[in-house]
């Protein structure tokens, strides 16, 4: 059994962070850095107590020193942070103060005697590695979201901070393509380099029309080939989307591409290579030539 702290910078995964920390069997303290609503969300996610740092609208990273001091004073054996860009910075500062090891990709935590066991995603999620630590550990959570079980709210205690670091937001603008239809679409039909020529996009559009879907693509189709608008490419540096249905046609399933569809509900891969990585990620797949499969899908949809 060991006590843990969780560092919360967004509402999205709070319940999952708490659930992961529960694997250790000890007391769980959440430190929420952001607006009051974030602390309130943490309070009903199941921790034993919540500390709240009011970020007052400046970048959360400016409080890294304060968070590190507050967390390290409690000498927790384990700190779990959300894997967001801000969460990581707070966790890195905390680790330095605690003299803790830093392990990205945390999925599951447990205590083994006085050691901590971290199961973490490695190689873009292709394997799970089991890691043991004798001393304190800081990990960034990389597992799935879990639904909050509706715990009774625990009290939220506002905590004072040291002077914030000198970090200022000068400008916030909508990112390129933020308004593209693909962001709100329930169904996205997405095409990759398996397509042989630009004119063949016509059959992809036909399928999309039959499904009431928006068109998406892999990065090279937009970036190198210029066949589809840049606002429509999906992935690490492109759009991050959450449709009900994502159909990846002639897309290999590179890790950078898959990062854009982590929140899609159902993923279908259509690829003539049975070993394409898309089939490891998808829920359904058709192994076949897209030039045969697309017309067949059109026909099947009409039935």
């Amino acid at each position: 059994m060991s006590d843990a702290w969780i560092i919360v910078t967004e509402e999205k995964q709070v319940a999952a962070l708490v659930a992961a920390a529960k694997g250790l069997g000890g007391k769980i303290t959440a430190i929420a850095v952001g607006p009051r609503a974030l602390a309130d969300a943490a309070a009903i996610a199941g921790p034993d107590e919540v500390k709240w740092v009011d970020a007052k609208g400046i970048p959360v990273e400016a409080y890294a020193g304060s968070v590190a001091r507050l967390v390290a004073a409690a000498l927790p054996k384990v700190v779990v942070a959300s894997g967001t860009v801000e969460g990581r910075v707070l966790a890195g500062a905390t680790a330095a103060r605690l003299g803790a090891a830093v392990i990205p990709g945390g999925l599951k935590l447990s205590a083994l005697g006085d050691r901590t066991v971290v199961e973490r995603a490695d190689l873009d999620g292709r394997v799970v590695e089991t890691i043991e630590a004798a001393g304190p550990v800081v990990t960034f959570y990389a597992g799935d979201d879990v639904a909050s079980e509706g715990f009774a709210a625990v009290p939220v205690e506002p905590v004072g901070t040291d002077a914030a670091a000198d970090i200022l937001v000068e400008k916030t603008e909508p990112a390129a393509g933020a308004g593209a239809g693909i962001n709100q679409a329930a169904v996205v039909v997405s095409v990759g380099r398996g397509l042989k020529k630009k004119d063949d996009l016509a059959i992809v559009h036909d399928l999309a029309n039959a499904l009431g879907a928006e068109i998406g693509c892999s990065m090279p189709v937009a970036d190198d080939l210029g066949w589809v608008e840049k606002e429509r490419y999906v992935g690490r540096s492109g759009q991050h989307i959450a449709p009900q249905l994502y159909i990846a046609i002639g897309i290999r399933g590179a890790p950078q591409h898959l990062e854009g569809i982590r929140d899609a509900k159902v993923v279908v891969g259509i690829n003539n290579d049975p070993d394409a990585p898309i089939f490891k990620f998808a829920d359904y797949g058709i192994v076949g030539d897209l030039y045969d499969v697309i017309p067949a899908l059109q026909a099947a949809l009409g039935k």
């Binding site: 970048p59 990273e61 890294a64 860009v85 990581r88 910075v89 966790a91 890195g92 500062a93 905390t94 330095a96 103060r97 090891a101 830093v102 392990i103 990205p104 066991v117 971290v118 490695d122 190689l123 873009d124 999620g125 292709r126 394997v127 799970v128 590695e129 001393g135 670091a165 000198d166 970090i167 200022l168 937001v169 000068e170 916030t172 603008e173 909508p174 990112a175 933020a178 329930a186 499904l211 540096s237 249905l245 590179a254 890790p255 509900k265 279908v268 049975p274 490891k280 829920d283 359904y284 797949g285 058709i286 076949g288 045969d292 499969v293 067949a296 899908l297 026909a299 949809l301 039935k303």
Partner: protein, 242 residues
């Protein structure tokens, strides 16, 4: 600003083969620079603005990678081994930075695989950090960075000294040619050892091995395209997504 660009040269994780028992075969993995490192170097050049720009790599780092891309001097800590604990890797970088001294900004690739290195580095230096940055520059003695956050793009200004972790948006488009490679060979590489910088290369954690994740395998339809398509459509209707 006096800027350090930290880069790595490591086995390409995409080449690693995962066996059916969940162990990893690295035999065919080629050595490669971090995929974000070229973008980090672009940002570092912009921040340095003609002031000193120093390359720093540890372990198997190929020092010429940065030299061929216009960096005039680089430091290599040659005997650092590959560590699981990202904080220990960061500690080696910090020790090497102490040898350099007077640094205003350290720029490093924000790699997925070693997502803890830049932030542990900032923590150990006690410097502020911004991660997932796409571009950077120096403005009035401060570092200005641009980063995408969800559906918005932020321009952030941060006082030096600072750690800037950069994510690339795409693969490197133009790699150095023969002329740059030759120029790189004439540029100085300072080789340091862990003992010389007062650092240790010991992991604080131990790996107990790898296994396959417990994700459900995809339902695959193959064979006759018409039959496969009908089965898929039926399955998707069953899921309620059509």
């Amino acid at each position: 600003m006096k800027t350090v660009i930290v880069y790595k040269w490591a086995r390409n994780a995409e080449d690693a083969v995962v066996r059916n028992d969940g162990t990893v075969d690295w035999r065919n993995a080629k050595m490669t620079a971090g995929e974000d490192d070229f973008a980090a170097l672009e940002a570092a050049k912009a921040i340095a603005e003609g002031d000193e720009l120093i390359g720093l790599t540890i372990g198997d780092g190929d020092a010429s990678w940065a030299l061929a891309r216009g960096v005039l001097q680089t430091i290599s800590v040659t005997d650092a081994s590959n560590l699981t604990d990202n904080a220990s890797t960061a500690a080696i970088i910090v020790a090497a930075m102490r040898q350099i001294g007077g640094v205003d900004a350290v720029v490093i690739g924000d790699s997925e695989e070693y997502a803890g290195v830049p932030v542990a580095l900032a923590g150990q230096l006690g410097w502020p950090a911004i991660a997932h940055v796409s571009s950077a520059s120096a403005v009035d003695g401060r570092v200005q960075v641009v980063r995408k956050q969800g559906s918005s793009e932020q321009t952030i200004s941060i006082a030096a000294p600072a750690v800037i972790a950069v994510s690339a948006a795409s693969p490197e488009k133009k790699t150095p040619g023969m002329k740059e490679q030759l120029a790189a060979r004439k540029r100085p590489v300072t080789k340091l050892t862990l003992a010389a910088i007062g650092a240790a290369s010991d992991d604080k954690v131990s790996s107990k091995g790898t296994r396959l994740p417990e994700t459900a395998a995809a339902r695959i339809f193959d064979g006759d395209p018409a039959a496969a398509a009908e089965q898929l459509v039926a399955a998707l209707r069953g899921e309620g997504v059509l």
